[in-house]
C-alpha cells in the first residue's frame, strides 16, 4: 500500500533536470505551437481558474479571460496546462508551458529564477473572522491566535514574519474558511480576491479591518527572453489602456480603485513584500527538525493505535461470534480498499458535518492509526494462522480454554513471526505520515514544501529533508533486518 512521496520525488527530479536559466525564442515556440500554453492550477479555485459549476468540463475565472485576451493579441488561442500550484515556477523553468499565470505574487526569491511581467492585478491581504467575533478587529489583534492561510503564499510569509501567531497552512482555499466556521482556527488571512469570492458571501464570516499588505500578481515568464517579456508587457499595457482588464475585473467583482495604478509602468517604488534574504541551509534546519519532531510524534502515536486496535480486530475476527466476525472483516476490507488520503479528508473535514469536530493532531493520529490497524490485523491473523494446528490441539488436550490458548500459546509464538513485518509497516507508516499535511499539520514533508516554495531551494532542501527521513527510517530498517536474522536462528 505504501503511498509514495510523489511531490517530494517530483521536486527532486525537477531540481535535477532544471535547464539553465537562459531561454529565447518563446514567441517562435508559441507561433509554432499555434497556442499559448499557460500553466495554472484549477484546484486552486475561484475566482482565478476553476471548473464552471454549470459545466464542470469548462474552466472559467478571471485569469482564463486574461489568458484568452493575451493569446488573442498574440494571434493564437490559449490552452491551460494543469500544474500543481507550487510546481508552477519549477515547471516553467522546465518549459512545460510558455507562461505561468495563476495569482503568482511578485517576490524577490522567485524573481531570481524566472522573469516577471508587469503586474496585471494589485492585490491585498484580507483578514476574515467569524461573524460573532468581537476580539479580533484587525491584524493588530492576532497575537497568540491561530490563523489559517494558504500554503506557499505571501500571506503565509507575512504571518511567519510576525512570529506571534500559530500558523495553520492549507493546501486549498476553501478549507481554511471551513475550519474557521468550525472554530478550529480564529482567523483566516489570505489574498483579497479569495476572501471576496469565498468569505464575503458567507453570512457566518466577516471581514476584519481593511485589506493590507499590497502586492502584485505577475505573470511568470521564462528567464532571459527579453523579446518575449517585452511583448507580454506591451500587451498588458494595451489591455489596461483599452479597458479590457477593467472589464474582466468588473465581471468577476474584483475591480477597485487600486487597479488604476496598473497603468504605471514602474512599480519598483511600490511596497511589495519580499520574504527576506537568501539564507543558507542552516537557517532552515531548525524548522525542518521541528517538522521531523512532529513526524516522529504522529508516527509513534499512530503506530501504537494501529497495533492495539489491529490486535482487537484480529481477535474479533478469530473469536467473535456470527455478528462481530463480519464486522471485523468489513473493517479490514474498507480501510484497505480506500485511499488513506480520502480517509483523512473524511475524518477531518467530513465528520464535522455530523457534529464530530476533531483537532488536526487527533484526526491525523486517528486516520493513520485506524488505516494501519487494518494492515496490522491482517499481519497478526497471518501470524496466528501460521502456527501449526498441533499447537492448538496440544493446548486443548491439556484443558486450556480458548482464550488461554491464544494468550499463552498462540500469541507468544505469533509475536515472533509478525515482528519483522510489523517493523516494516512502521517504516511505511512513518513515510505515509507525510499525507497528514493535507489536514494542516506541519510535519517534515510539509515543512519542506513551505520552505522550498518560499526559498526556491527545491533541490537543496529536498536532499536535506530526504536525509532527515533516512536518518529516522534507517535505524528501523536495521532493527527489522536484525530481528529477522535473530528469528531465523531461533
Amino acid at each position: 500500500m505504501p503511498f509514495q512521496h510523489k511531490t517530494l520525488i517530483l521536486w527532486v527530479l525537477i531540481g535535477l533536470t532544471a535547464v539553465p536559466s537562459v531561454s529565447a525564442g518563446t514567441l517562435e515556440d508559441i507561433r509554432a505551437a499555434g497556442e499559448l500554453q499557460w500553466g495554472a492550477d484549477a484546484e486552486g479555485g475561484a475566482p482565478y481558474v476553476f471548473p464552471d459549476p454549470d459545466q464542470p468540463d469548462q474552466l472559467i475565472g478571471f485569469e482564463v479571460d486574461l489568458a484568452d485576451a493575451i493569446a488573442k493579441q498574440l494571434g493564437v488561442t490559449a490552452r491551460m496546462v494543469q500544474t500543481d500550484w507550487r510546481s508552477l515556477i519549477p515547471a516553467l523553468q522546465r518549459r512545460d508551458f510558455h507562461i505561468a499565470l495563476n495569482g503568482i505574487e511578485w517576490t524577490g526569491e522567485r524573481s531570481r529564477v524566472v522573469d516577471f511581467s508587469r503586474p496585471y492585478y494589485i492585490y491585498e491581504q484580507q483578514l476574515v473572522v467569524r461573524s460573532d467575533e468581537n476580539r479580533i478587529r484587525s491584524v493588530n489583534d492576532l497575537g497568540g491566535k491561530t490563523v489559517g492561510t494558504l500554503a506557499a503564499t505571501v500571506a503565509q510569509q507575512m504571518l511567519e514574519k510576525r512570529g506571534d501567531v500559530t500558523l495553520k497552512v492549507y493546501e486549498g482555499q476553501v478549507q481554511p474558511y471551513r475550519d474557521l466556521e468550525l472554530m478550529r482556527i480564529d482567523a483566516v488571512f489570505m489574498d483579497w480576491p479569495i476572501a471576496a469570492h469565498y468569505a464575503r458571501p458567507n453570512p457566518k464570516l466577516k471581514f476584519a479591518g481593511a485589506p493590507i499588505g499590497e502586492g502584485l500578481y505577475v505573470i511568470a515568464l521564462p528567464k532571459g527572453d527579453a523579446e518575449f517579456s517585452g511583448r507580454i508587457n506591451k500587451i498588458l499595457e494595451d489591455l489596461y489602456a483599452d479597458g479590457t482588464l477593467q472589464g474582466i475585473y468588473e465581471k468577476w467583482g474584483l475591480w477597485n480603485l487600486k487597479q488604476v495604478s496598473l497603468r504605471e509602468s514602474d512599480h519598483s517604488a511600490r511596497k511589495v513584500f519580499t520574504g527576506g534574504t537568501d539564507n543558507g541551509l542552516g537557517v532552515y534546519l531548525p524548522l525542518l527538525l521541528k517538522g521531523a519532531g512532529m513526524t516522529v510524534l504522529i508516527s509513534i502515536a499512530a503506530m501504537a493505535l494501529a497495533m492495539v486496535f489491529g490486535a482487537a480486530v484480529t481477535l474479533t475476527r478469530l473469536m467473535g461470534g456470527r455478528l462481530l466476525k463480519p464486522l471485523a472483516v468489513a473493517y479490514v476490507e474498507i480501510m484497505r480498499g480506500t485511499p488513506l488520503l480520502l480517509q483523512l479528508y473524511i475524518i477531518y473535514y467530513g465528520l464535522p458535518n455530523i457534529g464530530i469536530s476533531l483537532n488536526a493532531f487527533t484526526a491525523a493520529v486517528l486516520g493513520l492509526g485506524l488505516n494501519y490497524a487494518a494492515y496490522e490485523s491482517e499481519i497478526y491473523r497471518a501470524g496466528l494462522e501460521s502456527i501449526p494446528k498441533g499447537q492448538h490441539d496440544a493446548a486443548l488436550s491439556l484443558g486450556m480454554t480458548r482464550w488461554m490458548i491464544y494468550r499463552r500459546i498462540l500469541i507468544p509464538q505469533a509475536r515472533r513471526v509478525v515482528l519483522p513485518p510489523v517493523t516494516n509497516d512502521f517504516i511505511s507508516l512513518f513515510k505515509d505520515s507525510s499525507l497528514v499535511s493535507i489536514i494542516a499539520i506541519v510535519e517534515l514533508t510539509k515543512s519542506y514544501n513551505m520552505l522550498a516554495v518560499s526559498s526556491m531551494k527545491f533541490l537543496e532542501l529536498g536532499l536535506l529533508t530526504g536525509a532527515l527521513y533516512l536518518m529516522m527510517s534507517l535505524p528501523l530498517s536495521v532493527l527489522s533486518t536484525r530481528l529477522e536474522k535473530h528469528l531465523a536462528i531461533s
Binding site: 499447537q391 490441539d393 484443558g399 486450556m400 531461533s490
Partner: protein, 251 residues
C-alpha cells in the same frame, strides 16, 4: 475408565469412524493397529475430545458425551468436553511441544494455568516427571535443542503433569528415528507397569505383544478384528489383518 459406544464420524458420505465400541478398565492397556487412514488417530482424538463426532457416545471417567453434544457450543457441553480432556492425557505423533517454552515450562504450563497449582509446586512436580522420563538434565532446554525421542518424553511428562486418569498415545514413535523408539517405548512400558490406563495407536508390534491386554485392528473406520495379542498376531481370522501384519513385519 473409558467407555466408547457406537461412535460414528462422517465426512460428507464417507464414514471415518463406523460404529466403534471400546472399553478400557482401570489399569488396562489396549493397542489399536491398522493401516494409515484407517481412523486410529481420529478415534483417539474423538475420545480425547479434540474432535467432534456424529453418533454414539464417549465416556472417560465419570463424564459422558453424546455425538451431537460434542459439536455443541453450550456451556454445559463445553464443560463436559473440557472435563474429558482433563481426564485423558494425550501424546501426539509430532510431539507438539510449545516451542517458546523450555522443557520444564512446557510441563508446568497447564498445571499453573489450568489447575492453578502454585509455581513452586508445579516446578517440583515437573522436575520429578523429568527424572521419571530420564531427562532430569534437560529442564532448561528448548524443544528445538532436544532430539525427537527427548521431545516425545517431555510430551509424555507434560501429559502426566495434569494427573490424567488415562493417557492416549497417537502413534508416539512413528515420527522418530529408529534408535530413539526404544527410549520412548520404555517410558510407556513403565507407565503400564505402574497401572496407568493406556490406549495406544502404534505399529510397534513387539510393544503391543508385550504390554497390550487387547489388540483392535481398524480398517476403513471399522474394527475388523479384536482379541488378545496372541490371537490377533498368532492366528488372525481376517484376511485384511493378515495382509496388514505381513506388510508391517516385512518392511
Amino acid at each position: 475408565m473409558i467407555h466408547v459406544s457406537g461412535i460414528t464420524k462422517k465426512f460428507q458420505d464417507h464414514a471415518v469412524l463406523d460404529c466403534i465400541d471400546l472399553d478400557l478398565k482401570q489399569g488396562e492397556v489396549k493397542v489399536v493397529i491398522g493401516p494409515s487412514g484407517s481412523g486410529k488417530s481420529t478415534l483417539l482424538k474423538c475420545i480425547g475430545a479434540l474432535e467432534p463426532f456424529d453418533n454414539g457416545s464417549v465416556q472417560v471417567g465419570e463424564t459422558r458425551i453424546e455425538g451431537p453434544a460434542s459439536r455443541s457450543r453450550s456451556g454445559s457441553d463445553q464443560d463436559k468436553l473440557r472435563q474429558i480432556r482433563l481426564s485423558a492425557g494425550m501424546v501426539f505423533q509430532q510431539f507438539h511441544l510449545f516451542p517458546h517454552l523450555t522443557a520444564l515450562e512446557n510441563i508446568m504450563e497447564a498445571p499453573v494455568q489450568v489447575l492453578k497449582v502454585s509455581k513452586t509446586e508445579a516446578e517440583t512436580t515437573a522436575k520429578k516427571l523429568l527424572q521419571q522420563v530420564q531427562l532430569g538434565n534437560r529442564a532448561d532446554r528448548y524443544p528445538r535443542q532436544l532430539s525427537g525421542g527427548e521431545q516425545q518424553r517431555v510430551a509424555i511428562a507434560r501429559a502426566l503433569a495434569m494427573n490424567p486418569k488415562c493417557v492416549l498415545f497417537d502413534e508416539p514413535t512413528s515420527a522418530l528415528d529408529p534408535e530413539m523408539v526404544g527410549e520412548v517405548l520404555s517410558v510407556m512400558r513403565e507407565l503400564a507397569d505402574k497401572g496407568m490406563t493406556l490406549l495406544v495407536a502404534t505399529h510397534e508390534m513387539d510393544f503391543a505383544k508385550e504390554v497390550a491386554g487387547e489388540i483392535l485392528m481398524l480398517d476403513q473406520g471399522r474394527v475388523v478384528e479384536r482379541g488378545t495379542p496372541s490371537m490377533v498376531f498368532g492366528n488372525p481370522s481376517e484376511q485384511r489383518t493378515r495382509r496388514f501384519l505381513h506388510r508391517i513385519t516385512h518392511r
